[in-house]
Amino acid sequence: MSFSDYIKGYEGENPFSDIQPRSFSDKKIYQEFYPISLYWTLFNDQHEVLLGSRGSGKTFLLKMMRYSMLKKIDHPRAKQLVDDKTFIAMYVPLRVEFLTPIMCSSLSDEDKLVHFQEGFNCLLCEALIVELQSLLDEIEDYSVKADKEIIIVTELEELWFGTSSGISELYELSDRVMKYYSKVRWSSVPQEKEFSVFKKQICFPLILARRMLSRVLELDNEPTWIVCVDEAECLSEMMQKCINTFFRSDSNRVAIKLAALPYYHVTLDTLLEGDIDVSDGNDFNYRVVNLQFDGKDFIGLTNSLCKHRLYDRFSKEHICNSVEEFVGVIGSDDYIDYFKESVGAEAATKENILIGIKKYVSHKRSASSEFYRNAQKALYDRFALSYYLRVVRNMGEHQGNRVPGWYAGAKNIRRVSQGNPRMFIQIMSALFEQAKTRKLTPKVQHKVIFKYAKSICEATKSLGGEGPDAYSNLHIIADTLQKKIHEGCLLPGGNVFTINCNSEDNFKKALPWLKRCIAYSRVIVDEKTIIRGITSKTRFTISNAYAIAYWIPMHSDDCVEIKLLDVPSEDRGEQKISSKRNNRQMTIEEVFDNND
């Protein structure tokens, strides 16, 4: 019996319906936090640019680096960091609403820069105040705490505003920063005669204040102040240059951790004269946040999420410790187990599989296999997965709509999630909803996972300006990979491909949608490609969601070169998949709907 069996008839809220960490309270963030191996390595004094696809967990990591949150983690390393106070981090989110008034004004770049610095520094001061409150809250003696707060507030007010208005509490200082921010006219030229610390380079208010803070808080060693800047993909090129300039300068014990989507850190230029730029490895480091779906971190994270989210609802009666416990396990949760589940034990014996494979491979290979010393290695290991896919897909499409129980089990849930925590929660939400009304058999899981995979493919259309191109090109790619497995003689296949664009020009045209696909986990590349960029020789992996929707093996046994036509997406129109059913063309929606 799997845990999901207990959910039937449950009428409460779906514990997996919350997917957006920005809406989470601090309590929810730290309760749900699972420290992946990358997390602890971020506590250093280097400037770093964290690259991760949408939903990969960047916000969670940065929010949990805050000193106020670090204190809440029950882990010896966290306790060490808190005791040492060698790193004090704060969280600065750069929302679209924050940046748009600056970017869209008709001011000159120089004036926009001043406004950006002004706005950034206001955000930074607010973030710093939150962490200072947390540091002060550790002082047990109330009068000592109050004295220190008064000193800090008075000194900061003097440093930041040049005046002292008699405020004595941090919330009053925060109000003063907010009032300053609300008075800024983003579409007006910054008044030169109005001196302001906020208008100077980013992080200046912190640099100005750090020694005083260390002294008043009686920190043994001056800490590195880590500024965690989130949603940096919203930054314009000019703003990125501003941050790069900071990377290049003397850090003054301030380190920036900048989180962005892959390829959204578009420039290494700075604002310094003389064409000075920054370089990865010297002035800053790139860190890739994306997890491998079968890696230890993602397995641990998914189990932890599963356990935590269900514990809130079901702790009294039952405990679910892992995704495996939630959906149950068939055999060893391997492909052969789900193949057996779909076609029956008889058809899934090794002998019958080999017979099946021989029927589908080329005559030459089939004939020569009689002489193989090790038929298992020659045929079974190489072709089994392609064979399974062909048989199971045929079940659904050509055998009276039998739904296979193929894309099921914890491994497939993690596969379709592609190592992306947000996608994992989305699929778990869908499974939980199903479990409320029916048993999560492999067939039911298959339907949910398959439908989810299709929705990811469909949603590709809407990935910003490049969405239509991405959608139509990925269809061509997936279709090509699919045909290799499902048409003609059986071949080993995979989800890895390279692109042949015929010309340098076409390759350049393809780059924007390829980058978008990588940023949104439609296409997977290695870390080096995320950091260094895409070349004409790059090996891409189509996402597991696409692989599932198109019945493509989710492995890299083979690499297919795909030629992309230079046809604009508006001329391709809606892609149609040909189907032999009823001898008419079906739209992609109809095919997917009928597969249900």
Binding site: Q20, E97, V177, K461, G465
Partner: protein, 317 residues
């Protein structure tokens, strides 16, 4: 205090000394009111804007440029002033309209602005922007005849975000996005993928006579609606109620977080959402305008119905 007033527009009540301002687009409904009024209103009291790309020599299989050019020439021959502009000329158009009204405001009775074919960057700022010049301008929208379902109005998707209305705050506690939805679910999904909202609600609007539209909009946007905190449906002919309700959402949630309106769907809904930050006038209540993604977009000639939605802005003490 700003008050939004609904009006019942009757072309028969328009008089010679009234002012009429409109934009010619590729849809027939963009010229519906102009054709009705151009013989009633003095030609010097009419100001027409026409997109340059509708009358240029570049071939476009989807737009009947010849027909539009003939019509525009006809207007010019009748002494009506036609200004050729581009989609991006929001400031230029605003200044032209402002100057036009300013030069004529003595002696005029009513001013009508037909925003049926204007892009949102133009019309969203007109009511509060012109309000200081003269009160009571009536903003008109010609309801379109959407005979077919959403699949026949190809999606535009989103390209990018454009200037924002309202001022942001320093609030970092997530935020509520209020998304307008319509037939273009691709655009809405694009907005969601771009903004990655912490939480959102959705609003849709239909004319009271178009009962099926709401069902269709809900159908194409189902995955989006399912993930929303809540959804609200409006009747666009009750424009003042729509604005009031949206302001209510802004007031209610702005005490907790920032509220960002991201309008889409029918123009009256977009207009209403764009007005909210200007009416509420609170830091953190903003409106983000979205530009169209031209790839894969094929314009559809929407015919006019006889229904006109009209409102004006007044100031009360």
């Amino acid at each position: 205090m700003i008050k939004v007033i609904d009006h019942t527009f009757d072309p028969n009540n328009v008089e010679k000394q009234d002012l009429f301002i409109c934009t010619i687009g590729f849809e027939d409904r963009s010229t519906y009111l102009l054709r009705k009024l151009m013989n009633k209103v003095s030609s010097e009291n009419i100001r027409v804007f026409c997109y340059k790309n509708l009358v240029d020599n570049n071939k476009d299989n989807n737009i009947d440029k010849k027909r539009i050019t003939i019509f525009v020439n006809d207007l010019i021959n009748k002494g009506i002033d036609v200004a050729y502009v581009e989609y991006k000329d929001a400031d230029i158009v605003f200044n032209e309209i402002y100057s036009f009204i300013y030069s004529k405001k003595i002696g005029i009775r009513k001013i009508y602005i037909d925003y049926s074919a204007m892009p949102r960057t133009w019309y969203s700022k007109l009511p509060l922007g012109l309000h200081s010049l003269i009160e009571g301008i009536e903003y008109l929208y010609v309801v379109g005849k959407y005979e077919k379902g959403p699949e026949d109005y190809p999606c535009a998707g989103m390209e990018d975000l454009m200037p924002m209305i309202g001022n942001p705050s320093l609030n970092c506690n997530g935020g509520l996005h209020v998304l307008g939805i319509g037939y273009d679910s691709i655009r809405t999904m694009g907005i969601i993928s771009r903004l990655d909202p912490a939480s959102y609600c959705v609003c849709s609007a239909r004319h009271s006579k178009n009962v099926t539209m709401e069902k269709l909009v809900r159908k194409v946007n189902k995955p989006i609606i399912d993930q929303a905190m809540f959804s609200v449906n409006f009747l666009m002919d009750d424009f003042s109620f729509m604005v009031a309700k949206l302001c209510e959402i802004a007031y209610e949630y702005s005490s907790l977080y920032d509220v960002s309106f991201v309008p889409d769907g029918p123009k009256p809904l977009i207009m209403a959402m764009a007005l909210v930050p200007q009416i509420v006038n609170k830091d953190g209540v903003v409106c983000l305008l979205v530009s169209r993604n031209k790839k894969g977009y094929k314009p559809v000639n929407v015919k006019p119905t006889k229904d006109i939605i009209s409102f004006s802005i007044n100031e009360t003490n």
